[in-house]
């Protein structure tokens, strides 16, 4: 019952002020018209869709946490279970990212009869979305106790996610950086979306680790 109540609440927070839906439909329309508008290849378009998916997930999750901080204090007091709350946040992010990933890919005009390509594309978008929501979750403290720390952390992680593979200095520690830029450079060099599948798995695991870290991090803070 607790998980049901919390998930319903988080889903409502995602959809209540139309930020998520507006951004989602804007991305879908971009995917639909990018060929004619910009005259770019599917691979280039997919790179752009990955970046858009990342920001869609990041901003909408940040917005959900902002709404949560404004509205749900007493709901959480009633539920009184930190771990159910953390699990509900993860599951709602997963559901929303699956929904966004499928819709964005289907309307991107990359979708075709090659099932491996479709599965790779959708899974990559979902994992990139999870990366965005994971970063928003790790720094959700910007809506609660430590506003500046949360904002700076988000900025740094976004910067690292986008530039990690392109800065030579960071090559040594590339494995600890958010793998978004790695996905983008890989799809450009390999010129194939299906080759992204292993990296999509790595990105999903990376996002899961962010969720686990934030789970323990905020649990400690709550105790204090």
């Amino acid at each position: 019952m607790k998980i049901k109540v919390l998930m319903r609440s988080y889903l409502k927070l995602f959809f209540q002020d139309f930020l998520y839906l507006t951004m989602l439909f804007a991305i879908i329309i971009f995917g639909f018209v990018a060929d004619q508008l910009l005259d770019i290849s599917s691979v280039k378009k997919f790179s752009l869709l990955m970046i858009e998916m990342f920001f869609l997930a990041l901003f909408s999750m940040m917005n959900a946490y902002h709404n949560d901080s404004q509205q749900n204090e007493y709901l959480k007091q009633k539920v009184n279970s930190y771990w159910w709350d953390a699990l509900a946040q993860f599951l709602v992010a997963l559901i929303v990212n699956i929904f966004s990933g499928i819709l964005i890919f289907i309307f991107s005009q990359i979708f075709n009869r090659n099932i491996l390509l479709d599965v790779s594309g959708i899974l990559t978008l979902i994992s990139v979305g999870m990366l965005g929501t994971g970063i928003a979750t790790l720094f959700k403290t910007q809506w609660y106790r430590h506003q500046s720390l949360g904002q700076i952390g988000t900025l740094v992680f976004v910067l690292l996610a986008l530039s990690g593979s392109t800065v030579g200095l960071l090559n040594v520690v590339e494995w600890i950086l958010p793998p978004l830029s790695k996905l983008i450079t890989t799809v450009q060099t390999e010129d194939s979306i299906t080759r992204l599948l292993p990296l999509a798995g790595q990105t999903f695991i990376y996002a899961d680790i962010l969720y686990i870290i934030s789970g323990f991090l905020y649990h400690e803070n709550k105790k204090n």
Binding site: M1, E73, Y74
Partner: protein
Amino acid sequence: MKLLSVNDLSLQNGGYFAFKHVAFSLSQNEIIGINGDNGSGKTQLLEAIANNQTPDSGQIDYTPGTRIGYLPQYNPQIIDQTVTKYLEDTRRLSKNLAVRKEQLEGMITFLGISPYLNVPVQQLSLGLRRRIDFLAAVAGHPNVLLLDEPFAFQSNKTIMNMLNLIQDLKDNGSGVILAGTRFNDTINHYIDNDYLLKDNRLTKIQSTTNTELKTLLVFGVNVKSVAITKDIEEYITVNRNGLIEMIIPLGIKDSMIQKMTRLNYQFEEAKDIEN
């Protein structure tokens, strides 16, 4: 049995003390009243007890198994569920410790919410939403009930019904903390220990209705006497042999004599008593 003890609790907000060195305890079968002006720190104190605010110093000891039900002063949650669905979901959060479904339905009827069962909570008036928040706090059958300005926007009849529910919880082993700007005599009648939060300090008020001076009034009945109204009836202790005796708080002595005289009862005598 003690449910919680607050020891030397202090809380600052933006450099200003909300309250300092607050100490009291709440036991089973006890109702505590905390009075205080706007901004005196009542809400902050209840938030600290409900675990929504971290105090700067001092501690709150909760007896193991303590479950808190909290009616906040303002609930910002946007609830688009219907009243029935919301209250039932809230009740089920406490699983088998919650009040039974039929009990909750009874409380809904008792507080006059039955006509709104299928209306989304968000569409209701502020007063009705307060009543629903009150029921949501009670639905889990908490052993510590924290009520912040519970009677705001409510009619006298609803206040009496809420007080009866609070009394019922108390009789079943719960401890209740009521916070409000100023409780009237009717509400004070239910309070066991009354505190005043002023200048950041919590002090016990010695004269709640349970301990304050009362007065015994005696009236004679004659042929012109008319039926006694309900608000007077509750004070009557004896009504026989043409005499009516009532025990009332000293503060309403004069107004009661006036009222009874208007109803053509003959004032016989008054005697101050200590309860």
